[in-house]
Amino acid sequence: MKKKKNLAPYAYVIPGLLMVLGFVYIPIIVNLVYSFFRLSSYSASMKFVGLDNFRRLFTNETFPIMIRNNVYYCVISLICQVGFGTFLAFMLESNLIGDRFKTVCRNIYFIPALVSLTAVGMMFNFIYNPQMGLLNTMLKHFGFVSLQQTWLGDRNLAIFCIIAMSQWQFTGYITLLMVVAFQNVSRDYIEAAVIDGAGPVRRAWNIVLPLAKEQLLVCSIITVIGAFKLFTEVYSTTVGGPGNSSQVLGLFLYQNAFLHDDMGMAAATGVLIFIITVTASIFQLKVSHSGEV
């Protein structure tokens, strides 16, 4: 009887823990092991190659392009989704607009986040299409033919087109999360910050934001991690093209694993993504001085 009672608490923790260990941690450790081997998806042989996969990864011509693209995605998303998203949340919470209007706006902003990434990718394939796409057709319609672009087919624009698509999709998501956080902050603070003529921005910055800091931190961590595991957005639009100009780490991993039968290289890329995301998360936790979460 007594023994049973002692075990009970573990019964709550163990199933969930085992799931996480079994399907998150073990694969990640196995991945680390794989990164030192050469192996393919259809052949059983495994050959130890030491750090060769990493050497090939770092010396790959696409490597700087991928890092650049992931960093672009990360920085722009932080500015637009977290930065602008928070600003938007702030606007929505001001008492200058009615509750009804506010809710409608907030819900509309959130809608794109509910659509699957593949669907959004396919939609934007149409929007960016050079012949019949929304953008070029509009430009033509209003007489700006010279401004027409190839969009996803342009080496210099492709990755930014994809990034823009993500901002369209996820800014509202962050806005909603921040609205929620602001609602937890006493309403007086926000009203004071918005109404008062003397530097509402500054007041917001000084009073409201610190109170919603935790939420902001979570949002920015989600965004940074999301930026480095970017995959579906690119897979459903350019698949890395034109050339390699919109290649990203996540897609590179996938293509090596399932297209070039180079599972070792894929695993090495995985290790790199792992290091980047974990470092970024720890870094942000430290910067925010909120180790206790």
């Binding site: 799931m19 079994g22 059983a44 070029n136 190839t150 087919g153 034109p242 180079d262 180790g291």
Partner: protein
């Protein structure tokens, strides 16, 4: 915080190591519970659990769109009713996912018994791992069957050592399609040489139209131009050596020349070549916005569907005068089915393929889908003029030259396609592009061993 985290991390590692086995056990336990809840529905579960003599043959193809998908399904149903002891399980995927999926399953226990496989390097790497069934003995045993198939096509499904590993399901080749009305209006004729071709393109362009419809977002369409140009600009021997991953170098100047010629063509294409898919661009041709399309014979069905009234014709890839390569090749390849070496029912699989890819089914296939297989004499049953001329293109071909993107080793192919895509945008010069391809080809030499 960091020290705590470090400690936590190292503790975690230890915990994981010890828990590793338990975790696996635990997860399969939960498997059982959820399965009882009705979650686990594998493809196998639906089949009668090895009841008596039922032989289950798994077939995996890449034609999920109708009318082809429906045709395959109906034929398989027909075969099942003729052979009650055989039951098929058919799965399909679109081209790109198919290429990824088949590699994943082919080496595993889930490998389908019969599956679609491109000829050339795509299949040969499976052969190197011993994953494909050698069909040669079956062909030798049934001379009649062997003789009923077109030699030029079977050659593509035969290795250099003479092993037959696949049977064609549909034949295909690349030709230029042109809008006869536009050509007549401008007083043009189908060109035969490269110079004539450029002249024609210039005239069309002068009339204010983008002459060629093309979309290269998927990267393979433009590779087909390069494949065709390489045929003419590089000798067969050199190409054979370069397309083989173990000896590929791509140092012949003809390759760069091919890229230059392609670059010349790009200036005659519609805008945004890299920003569109090939089929989207084809609408430009079928809707009369462009005069020329470099298309596949299997696209005839689509062209007719998109604009039944279009008055179109075909011409061969123009000849480049004085080029040192082979002028008599036709770019294209049969696409067919292979049998897994792991199958439990090799004889049954081959029997099925004989029927499924034979003359009788082939005639129906040509009629219903608009594609024909490698059975000889199908043209006698064809009623449609355009299909007849398409059939002639292949039947008259002395030798095929398989799709460029299927001929190359995967990493080389990837680099080549990448460079062609950049050439299309004018972001790289042909010489620089070749230098990059050469580098990857060299690396591939060691990978392919």
């Amino acid at each position: 915080m960091t020290r705590k985290f470090k400690k936590a991390l190292s503790l975690g590692m230890a915990a994981i190591m010890t828990l590793g086995l338990t975790a696996c056990g635990g997860s399969s336990d939960s498997t059982a519970t959820t399965a009882a809840g009705g979650a686990a529905t594998t493809a196998d579960a639906s089949a009668p659990a090895a009841s008596g003599d039922t032989k289950v043959i798994k077939l995996f193809h890449r034609f999920p769109d109708d009318p082809c998908n429906g045709f395959i399904e109906s034929k398989i149903a027909e075969y099942e009713s003729l052979h009650p002891e055989i039951k098929f399980e058919v799965t399909s995927a679109q081209n790109q996912p198919y290429k990824e999926k088949i590699k994943v399953v082919v080496g595993s226990d889930e490998c389908p018994d019969i599956f679609f496989s491109f000829c050339g390097e795509f299949s040969e790497r499976f052969i190197r791992e011993g994953l494909l069934l050698d069909l040669t003995p079956y062909m030798e045993a049934d001379q009649e069957w062997k003789d009923s198939l077109m030699e030029s096509q079977m050659k593509e499904y035969t290795t250099a050592d003479g092993m037959v590993y696949g049977i064609p399901f549909r034949l295909d080749a690349k030709e230029f399609f042109y809008n006869k009305d536009i050509f007549t209006k401008l007083g043009l004729e189908a060109p035969q040489t490269w110079d004539q071709f450029i002249e024609v393109l210039d005239k069309i362009k002068e009339s204010g139209m983008d002459p060629i419809a093309e979309g290269n977002q998927d990267k393979w369409p433009s590779a087909h131009y390069i494949g065709a140009l390489n045929e003419q600009l590089v000798t067969d021997e050199t190409r054979a050596a370069d397309y083989n991953p173990k000896s590929g170098e791509f140092t012949d100047p003809g390759y760069a020349e091919a890229l230059e010629k392609y670059q010349q063509l790009v200036s005659y294409m519609n805008i945004g070549v890299n920003g569109m898919t090939h089929d989207m661009a084809r609408l430009g041709f079928t809707q009369g916005q462009n005069a020329i399309l470099f298309g596949e014979l299997v696209e005839i069905t689509n062209i007719k569907q998109e604009n039944p009234d279009l008055n179109w014709g075909m011409f061969k890839f123009p000849e480049i005068e004085g080029a040192k390569g082979n002028m008599n090749l036709v770019s294209g390849a049969p696409e067919g089915f292979a049998v897994s070496s792991k199958t439990k029912y090799p004889d049954e699989c081959v029997e099925f393929l004989k029927w499924f890819l034979g003359a009788e089914t082939g005639a129906q296939q040509a009629e219903q889908v608009g594609w024909f297989n490698a059975s000889k004499g199908l043209d006698k049953t064809l009623t449609d003029e355009s299909l007849k001329s398409a059939y002639d293109v292949i039947a008259n071909a002395e030798k095929m030259d398989i799709w460029f993107d299927n001929a190359l080793y995967s990493t080389v192919c990837d680099e080549y396609l990448t460079q062609i895509s950049d050439i299309t945008n004018g972001d790289v010069t042909p010489t620089d592009a070749m230098a990059k391809i050469q580098k990857v080809a060299k690396e591939a030499q060691s990978l392919a061993q």
